[in-house]
Amino acid sequence: MKGFCNPMEPKVRIGGLLGCLLMSVCFLHGGGALEAAESGNAVASTEKMVPRNHEEVVAQINQHLQRGYQNRGLEPTNSCDDRAFVRRVYLDLVGRIPKVAELEKCLKDGIETSQQRGRLIEQLLQSEEHVIHWADLFDTLLMGRAAEAKYAKRRQHQWRAFLENSIRTNQPWNQFIEEILLARPADETKQGGNWFLFERNNDHQQIAEAIAPAVFGIRIECAQCHDHMLVDEIKQSHYWGLVAFFNRGKNEDGKAGPQVMESAVGGFSEFADLLGDSTPNRLAFLEVDTVEEKRPGKDEKQSDEDELYRPGRTDNVPRVPVFSRREKFVTKVVRDHPRVARALVNRVWALLMGRGIVHPYDEMDSIHDPSHPELLDWLSQDFRDSGYSVRRLIRAIVSSDAYRLASRRPEHVDDPATFAYYLERSLTGEQLARSIAIALFGDLGDDEVVNSVFRQQFPDLLPDEQVANVKESLFLSNGPKLQDLLMASKQPTHLIPRLAGMDTDQERVDLLFQVMFARVPDAEENAVVKAYLSKRGGTAESIRQVAWSMLTSAEFRYNH
């Protein structure tokens, strides 16, 4: 294997400084705060417990939140109505609004009891649409938004299939994480797992900066040049330690697809702090003991001998070092690390409840306290006890009382961290694209095409604050895409022709509200929309205008 050489050259260090310089010139990285965790939780019990049943988990969530309300001296708001619940659970579990027929079926079958809601939740959780929606979410969280060419590569190189398969089979989260970090696929079906590292294209700092939030729920960018100034537990040695675990990796696009090779030598360097002091980049990360490794002496050269690798290499499988840093990271740092469970629990909670128990969801450090610390502890322990079952966690959260609260903010409550009302959040680009397709066509149609435009325009997922921007409004008002979609609603089964074919404006109004807002209009809305249509003779053009005004209204734009 070539390309790995000469460990002790000061290359990496200079590289780091150049990195700094590049950062200050090109402004390439997002900054941010870092990590941490109350040590009490970090040393959570590893004692295995019998997993609790679903009802018990839901009851625990309810009790902890209830205690939170009492401690803060407030009452949560009422439950939302059935239609709002159905819309919400469709958006959260399958990434789109319900079709009219689906909504009506739910209402007809009943949705008032927890058993009835449970049936709907289960049906959605088992669907292929659930797989696709949550693959979108995890793709964004793990890989970030990207140009369309990058999305195409993620598909081409099986990352997307790998992700979907993991969700489809409810693969334990810890296994999934280990597979993408190790990047040594057990068989062809796992090949796509390599792409998490491979897409970062040998940029080991980028890899480290991606792993910290994805796996541990913390941000480490600040620690590149110095120990984190605000978060004591995040050290500069952790930043460079995490880099070191991965800096012997090298992409190779081989016969069996993209592989991330690993050298048995190299990757030793020193990092400089702002005062100019140098420190070796040991294999250290957070609370875990430094992984010991023989460092070559100052002038000693390491040669890349065959005996440093395990036997049994074939053409299609890269050789593996006897001492594999990547593997050590997986087995010594990641495996059973309590933050892995906490980070996932907090993130799924944020996706479903609009805000993490720790907020922002990827800054789970000592300066960001959880709003409900005991709940986070409890859910994290339970998540581990359950064998890291993500689907079970999702099921429990959407079955909780808090998930079902109305989104209307009670007058006396202004702190979203109370979860005393359902927190509205904007639809992701994909959710918006699919919901528009469901509304206008009754099905998803050419999903990927619509998605590609909307995810570029609406990249946000779990923003710290919900602030709309004018560019989005301009896109919806004047961009060609939404207009094209409205014009494409022209088959007999599509919304616009169906409405145009109706006899009365009243019928049109009723169907529009049902399709777009999953509800019936109130008297004022009814009068206004009806008048709008009748002034214009109920033409297809006027129907498209009404459809536009509903698709672009806040009620459609938000999950509430």
Partner: protein, 454 residues
């Protein structure tokens, strides 16, 4: 008073009329009446001009009427005081650049600022800033909002306060514009993703432009008539406002505020087209994105914007090769300030337009191992000129090595009180908003820097 506009004037009466219709005051009962009575189409005769014909000069009428304005050159990343306003040549860590005399007797600035040295009589320089935060995010927060955070309440950013106090909400020209050609910028990028308008509400947030100098989708699609465009928007407003009110929804309020701006923005699309500015002006300012946007800021202010903030990512954070980097950055700043202040003066606008140039803190007197200067909030400089500010004043001083402020120490509160006072805004007024605890524009009755106020 000189004419504000650049391009030849058109019939402004017609356009003024149109403006009143396009300004998006958007009270839904009005719209409701309009489309229930079917008068939208009739009204369209007068709104006919709002997206296409609206000319820049017409907007200048509004600009003329109004008062004070402000341009903030936001030097994000934090420039070095030593290579700008407070040189310490010949000292151990003063750096390689000499100090040069200015047209103010006894006052020197860095040799990287030869042009500003000729207009020091128009500038007020503060050499005695001492602030708390030493990290970018917190520094940006305090120096753009004026005070430390107090969660869960978000203090509005300077531009939002000034747009709210001095701006004309019924103007189609955006009152608060952020020109930011580089959307990136480490902590600044993170900061930009946050809530700028804070408790004032999203309608006082900035319009963001820059980069390719254009705002996408600013023109109406040709297949939609102006009448239809206006009518369906009125219906959207009705439905969406209702939801906002019924839900008590802040998210929906921000959504609606964003839509409210669409028509106004469409009507002033030419203002965001840099190609409409004279080539010789563009050359004078220089080719860099920051310089071009500073010119655009002048143009926006001339045509009715109240607050324009010019940033360019976070270029000033030179932990590495500080001198080499500042050797590129400071001369650009020098020229931009010089051109901007002269242009405003030539147009008779300097006395009403406050120009501020600053970052979120200063840089260390010592160099680090990478020949960079690190963050230093303990003693740093900034400069202002124009509207309400006395030129030719240097306030405060640091010790010979620039470690400490030795005279006239001021902080972010003093600075914000000065800015507000200069613009004729009461610095100490209390915000009276429902559900908001006691907050003042500047807390603790902190006094402005009187020496530099007119």
């Amino acid at each position: 008073m000189k004419k504000y506009q650049q391009s030849p004037s058109r019939d402004s009466h017609h356009s003024r009329n149109a403006m009143q219709h396009s300004c998006g005051s958007a009270e839904h009962t009005v719209h409701r009446r309009l489309f229930l009575q079917g008068t939208m189409a009739a009204g369209a005769a007068s709104t006919g001009s709002f997206s296409g014909l609206f000319s820049v000069p017409a907007l200048a009428d509004v600009a003329k009427k109004s008062g004070k304005k402000c341009i903030l050159l936001w030097l994000c990343g934090a420039p070095s005081q030593f290579e700008t306003w407070d040189p310490k040549p010949g000292t151990e860590t003063g750096g390689p650049f000499p100090a040069i005399p200015t047209n103010l007797s006894g006052v020197k600035v860095s040799s990287l600022m030869p042009q500003c040295a000729t207009i020091m009589d128009k500038l007020a320089v503060v050499r005695s800033m001492k602030t708390e935060p030493g990290e970018h995010f917190q520094g940006i927060d305090v120096l753009t909002r004026g005070d430390k955070p107090r969660p869960p309440f978000t203090r509005p950013i300077l531009g939002s306060v000034i747009a709210q106090q001095l701006g004309q909400l019924d103007s189609p020209v955006p009152q608060f514009v952020l020109l930011d050609p580089c959307p990136e910028g480490n902590e600044f990028k993170q900061f930009k993703a946050g809530n700028w308008a804070g408790w004032l509400g999203a309608e006082y947030g900035p319009i963001r432009a820059g980069g390719n100098y254009a705002i996408p989708n600013i023109n109406r699609l040709s297949e939609i008539s102006e009448v239809d465009h206006a009518d369906r928007e009125a219906l959207r407003q009705f439905l969406s406002r209702k939801f906002e009110n019924d839900q008590r929804s802040e998210a929906a309020a921000s959504h609606n505020a964003a839509f409210n701006r669409v028509n106004g923005l469409m009507s002033c699309a030419p203002l965001f087209d840099l190609n409409q500015l004279p080539e010789k002006d563009r050359q004078r300012y220089g080719g860099g994105a920051f310089a071009q946007h500073a010119l655009q800021a002048r143009h926006l202010i001339e045509n009715g914007s109240t607050f324009v903030m010019v940033a360019n990512g976070m270029p000033w954070d030179n932990h590495v090769f500080q001198h080499e980097m500042h050797q590129m950055l400071v001369p650009e700043l020098d020229n931009v300030l010089f051109q901007l202040i002269n242009d405003l003066e030539d147009r008779g606008m300097l006395q009403d337009t406050l120009v501020i140039a600053m970052g979120e803190f200063g840089r260390t007197p010592w160099l680090n191992d990478a020949r960079g200067r690190d963050h230093y909030p303990k003693a740093w400089s900034m400069a202002m000129a124009g509207g309400g500010i006395k030129g030719g004043v240097v306030h405060g001083a640091t010790d010979p090595l620039g470690f400490e402020v030795v005279d006239g120490q001021v902080d972010n509160r003093n600075l914000f009180a000065t800015i507000f006072e200069a613009l004729g805004i009461d610095p100490h007024q209390e915000y009276e908003l429902p559900g908001l605890p006691t907050f003042h524009r500047v807390e603790n009755d902190t006094q402005p820097i009187r020496e530099i106020l007119v």
